[in-house]
Amino acid sequence: MSTTTMNATHSHDDHGPLKGWRRWLYSTNHKDIGTMYLIFALIMLFLGGASAMAIRAELMYPGLQLLDPDLYNNIVTNHALVMIFGAVMPAAAGLANWMIPLMIGAPDMALPRMNNLSFWILPAAALMLILSFVVPFFPGGGSQINTGWTLYPPLSLKVGMSMDFLIFTIHLLGVSSVLASINIIVTIFNMRAPGMTVWKMPMFVWAWLVTAFLLILIVPVLAGGVTMLLFDRHFGTSFFDAAGGGDPVLFQHLFWFFGHPEVYVLLLPSIGVLSQVIPAFSRKPLFGWNSMIGAMIFLASLGMVVWAHHQYTIGMSSAAVNYFMIGTILISIPVGLMKFNFIATMWRGSMTFETPMLFAISIVIMFVFGGLTGVMLAIVPADMQYHDSMFVVAHFHYVLLPGAVMALFAGVLYWLPKWTGNMYNEKLGKWFFWTSLIGFNGTFFVQHFLGLAGMPRRIVDYSIQFAEFNFISSISAFVYGLSHLIFLYLVITTIKGIGTTKAKPRSWEGAQGLEWEVESPAPFHTWEKAPKIDKEGHYVK
């Protein structure tokens, strides 16, 4: 095998991995850093999932079951932040770290030390986040964060010192994502193998390129917004205080200027993953290559200017709401095009149904469903009813879990053979898929009805008319939660090689791309000599 020889001819004695903990703490290797990102994300997923389980346990019956109201809101806040900033974004960054250099034929990321810094800021941020959660339980720790992840003032101005921890957590997370994004952009622009033009880059790389740009533009705005919150809390400014001429709603604008594009930050890497997985298991090239790129750029640009659809109820002129409504509805164009391309890739393909593909197919359906409820939410008059009800919760879990989390699972399963050298146990994979599919839909489908019937979100207790659906939702959520244990077991057995088969370099029959040209598991250093690529974008041995 040519790749093997290629890597074997190169001697690694001078710079193999360090031994022991230094390997991880001091790492400048994109694969090790990618691994750390992924493990971190998995831990955070379980932490966020544990809080989700606490939420669902509390909501299982009407009445206060387990949690004090403030603790409930604290957990909800923590759940959202841990999931979004701790699980989804780092997991996507982990995939980027692992795969982008492999896919574009680069020896590593462009700025390896900075790469390590952007990862290691995350544990620091996690520490601060956890402190913000537990500090109130210590004497003198002030009140709990009961604001939800949106941190709207004036409520967030009244919280005790844990809010300051949270504000600094957000600063840390911001630094981490901006540094990581810079690194990814530079790597993509500057480190491609000769012949790998931008138009030949795999779609996953494209998706991350767009995502990284988006992050660089939006994260600083959130940092600025929470800085203003900090100033209002401690230095007597009146940004969010009407008495001094300020406006609490200003914070909402800043938050959602970040927050709406942020949901596409969560979505796009997953679109990238699906663009690798679906063609691989359909055994035919991605349909609509150029339109996919166009759609992603269009989505990112349009996503930057529609933020106020989260704030229809705060009082905007009719010109403003009209603008935001139409802008938001138009987002169905690029997303629709992406979903169409996925379906057309499957059309007249030769499909097999390994777990990544099963996820991919169900994601397309469920995401379209979530996207369509998104379009319903965008309708201003109707949003007067939907807003801040469980309908919104149902919408965003239907886009977040299929659109981001499940697609990341698909990506992990797809590339796991490349990372570990072992094929995971397909049977376990199927079990994981079906239990999570059933659990997920059972949890969130019924929440639409709750919302329409008038149950607000972020309430610790509800009246009995909502009892039945909440019960169904909670039971299904536990099923869904347990399904993740299958995933955990699957990953551990694959890493340890228990009950698995050895993976070939090209682990899937239909898989395309440079990453499948190196051995499985990928050696510590790859593409130290740039691969050759022909006009079609294929690897030349």
């Binding site: 009407p62 009140s143 109820t313 397309v364 801040d388 008038g454």
Partner: protein, 389 residues
């Protein structure tokens, strides 16, 4: 794989059946009581139907291809499909179609939006008011942590609508109530409104964001401290409509129910006269130089305490968790009266200031706190409060 498909259709079946089975449990908006509410309902149904159709189309195509284009059936992939005319032009065709649907939806929505977005600015009674778009009365809704205050500026009536019944004690007791039909849905003073009257609502708040939401009236608007937001409604059907606060406002966000009782105009007049009389009696009481006895203060204080303070400090006076201190045996409640008065008048951290209460109410509630649940400390008279203000 066939097995997978079976499971899939099973799930689908279950979902559909459950849809019917739960039909009685409010699957959709409650029936609107205003014409704007009806239009909103219609636009909601319209988009939902469009969405369902789109979803079904996509679902069908995917299911079809899952069965048709599978390797196990020996289907060979068409490697040039993306190069066909369809592949070349789909990037125009798909967006064009989506754009068409988008504009259709947006057009429907805009029609409704234009009808209600701008609240009427003029009172119909005023000379030269635009009769098509004017209001008959104002109602101010003011969010508090955690109750609603209502004000009828023209009638000079003002009262609080608070969560009821306040048995909120401990978890266990709370659970006892959960069998009650109106658990978390009832208030002590309902907001009574006349039907067939255009009402302009002025929403605001005194502390943090809240949102006044009664689904049947068809709108939800945020209450923003320091700002006033106008909305309006003309209720068409008499009845009792229940809603609640919809913007996270802290600890008891879940306990800010709203009850609107829509009555005929005549009944409304009668009710408002009753309210006026109540306020007058209160005023007289405050102005009379009556010397309150401890017992009188205790009785009145218990009432005030249970409506105003028990949400946080609990009826038992035991407080809740670390956030809300117990008043039983509290050093403040048992200590010098001046400090206690100061605490209640001016608040501290999460504890609100209670300046808006009358001297008598304050004297009563403070006396009650100092002598209930086994506490024993001095009696506080209305004059003491007046001095402390």
């Amino acid at each position: 794989m066939r097995q997978a498909a079976k499971i899939f259709s099973l799930i689908l079946g279950v979902l559909i059946i459950s849809g019917y089975a739960f039909a009685e449990y409010g699957l959709n908006f409650p029936a609107p009581a205003t014409d704007i509410g009806q239009e909103i309902y219609d636009v909601h149904m319209f988009t939902m139907i469009v969405s369902t159709i789109l979803l079904l189309i996509i679902f069908t195509i995917i299911i079809y291809s899952l069965f048709k284009f599978r390797k196990s059936k020996g289907y060979e992939a068409d490697q040039n499909f993306h190069k066909s005319w369809f592949g070349t032009w789909s990037w125009v065709m798909v967006p064009a179609m989506v754009l068409g649907v988008d504009f259709y939806i947006a057009g429907e929505a805009q029609g409704v939006l234009d009808k209600f977005w701008n609240a009427p600015k003029q009172n119909c009674a005023r000379e030269g008011a635009n009769k098509d778009h004017c209001f008959d009365m104002n109602v101010k809704t003011i969010g508090h942590q955690w109750w609603w205050e209502y004000e009828f500026p023209e009638q000079g009536v003002n009262f609080n609508g608070k969560f009821y019944p306040i048995k909120v004690e401990s978890r266990a007791l709370d659970k006892d109530q959960t069998s009650e039909e109106l658990y978390l849905r009832d208030v002590d003073n309902q907001l009574v409104l006349p039907v067939d009257t255009t009402i302009r609502f002025l929403n605001t708040s005194v502390d943090v964001l809240h949102a006044w939401w009664v689904p049947e009236l068809g709108f939800k608007r945020d209450s923003i401290p320091g700002y006033i937001m106008e909305t309006w409604a003309t209720i068409e059907k008499e009845g009792t409509y229940r809603g609640q606060c919809a913007e996270l406002c802290g600890t008891w966000h879940a306990k800010m129910p709203i009850v609107v009782k829509a009555v005929s105009k005549a009944d409304f007049e009668q009710w408002i006269e009753g309210e006026k009389a109540k306020l007058l009696a209160k005023l007289q009481e405050a102005n009379s130089n009556k010397d309150w006895t401890k017992d009188e203060l205790m009785t009145k204080g218990e009432q005030v305490y249970n409506t105003m303070c028990a949400g946080c400090h609990q009826v038992s006076g035991l407080g809740l968790g670390a956030a809300f201190p117990a008043l039983k045996n509290s050093p403040v409640a048992m200590g010098p009266a001046a400090e206690h008065i100061n605490m209640v008048l001016n608040g501290k951290n999460t504890m609100p200031a209670w300046k808006q209460l009358s001297d008598i109410d304050l004297a009563a509630v403070i006396t009650y706190e100092r002598n209930a649940w086994g506490n024993s400390a001095s009696v506080v008279k209305p004059a003491d409060i007046k001095a402390a203000r």
